[in-house]
Symmetry: C2
Subunit: 256 residues, 2 copies
Amino acid sequence: MLKISSLNLNGIRAAHRRGFKDWIAQSNPDIICLQELRAMEHQVPGPIQSLNYHAFYHTAEKKGYSGVGILSREEPISVQDGIGVDWIDQEGRVIMAEYTDLTVFSIYAPSGTTGDARQELKMEFLDVFLPFAHQHLEGDKPVVFCGDFNICHRPIDIHNPKRNKNTSGFLPEERKWVSLLLDTGFEDVYRRLHEGEPDLYSWWSYRAASKERNKGWRIDYHMTSPELLDAAEEAVIEKDWDLSDHAPVTISYNLG
Amino acid sequence: MLKISSLNLNGIRAAHRRGFKDWIAQSNPDIICLQELRAMEHQVPGPIQSLNYHAFYHTAEKKGYSGVGILSREEPISVQDGIGVDWIDQEGRVIMAEYTDLTVFSIYAPSGTTGDARQELKMEFLDVFLPFAHQHLEGDKPVVFCGDFNICHRPIDIHNPKRNKNTSGFLPEERKWVSLLLDTGFEDVYRRLHEGEPDLYSWWSYRAASKERNKGWRIDYHMTSPELLDAAEEAVIEKDWDLSDHAPVTISYNLG
DNA sequence: CGTGGGAGG
DNA sequence: CCTCACACG
């Protein structure tokens, strides 16, 4: 069994203070895909650097901003940063680690909530991501794109679909993009293992006590090649931990 | 008896969180001279605005920076902001409240620790302050200039005089300025009531656990006209409170 | 509401 | 070390 977690940390230093190490000790994933490090590699807290994981980070040029990483018990065969577009790679939004049996990505799509300019860049990221993802889907290894896509797919994935239909993260063109991804070979494994179940979210605003009222969004995904859906045995959102405004999305894959 | 306190708050909002109201309730000064409000008047916490004091503030134009104020149980006859020099008055460093029996100032001298340019402005402030103070000394009412002068007068007023002899706040020209003030009619009342007593400080750096080791500086003063020295009965630095990096300097005057 | 940076102390 | 303003989410 291979346990893979995806977690937007909202600052690896803050998450460390909130018990990131305790969560690792308890949940014990084989691979952890991290987003929003909000730190340079040398700023990662020592206790996290000392964990018994191989660690790879792709940080943003801007300090305290974005950044992705992958931790894994097994040493990867190769690691690759970025997607090949300058502005995206300067923001530290894509990292890949290739293992013997599968390839893993940690993905952090831009947020569009701060204005039109950023929303346009978000759509540009999605446009660039789609062929990039397909190219890796056509490789001969199973592949999983874990991460914060900053999009809710369907009304069931958001606590208030009506009120948010014009909100970045739940816009028709964003939702269509996820549908397209799923119609062209990818599987939203968490949802496939929880079809029709409402109130399952991975992010809650820090405002207005959203989490205790479970007013959330499901914007963190494992987007996989088909064989990983078949391999998936359990998918959980670990919302009892308060590591950040996101919860870890953890899926156990039986790679046989 | 008239109890007057001087306190650099290092942010009135932070001081409020640290128990400013509790200190007032317990110490119960008649007049409180405040420095470093680091807030606009509308940002002063409601519970402080609701205290049974008349409150007057002279804030800086720059947000979150400097600012002085006077709280008093008695309503002043008049209040005056500033010293008549634009850059000083834009920084909110001087406020006066005139009462029936005395005139009270709250003073916040610039810090020179951030570089030569600010050190020069500090000296300019001191140059402007001296004739301003003397002009009020020659009025017919007792006068007290309470505040953070950002200068230690003598070796006894600082925990490490040798190491700090070239540090802003303990420079020869700054120390001479205080001597000049005291040689031309003003009294450092706290020191006069504690002649020769070492280890009495009003400020401790937040770094290196300075306060618990009492590695401090005495930079907060009541500088008074001579009749107020005669009236002074008790002078205490209330260092048991942790309201900011400064402690209240509280003196009880018997105005007969 | 919360994180991180940076100025100012 | 601490406070505040600001950018970003």
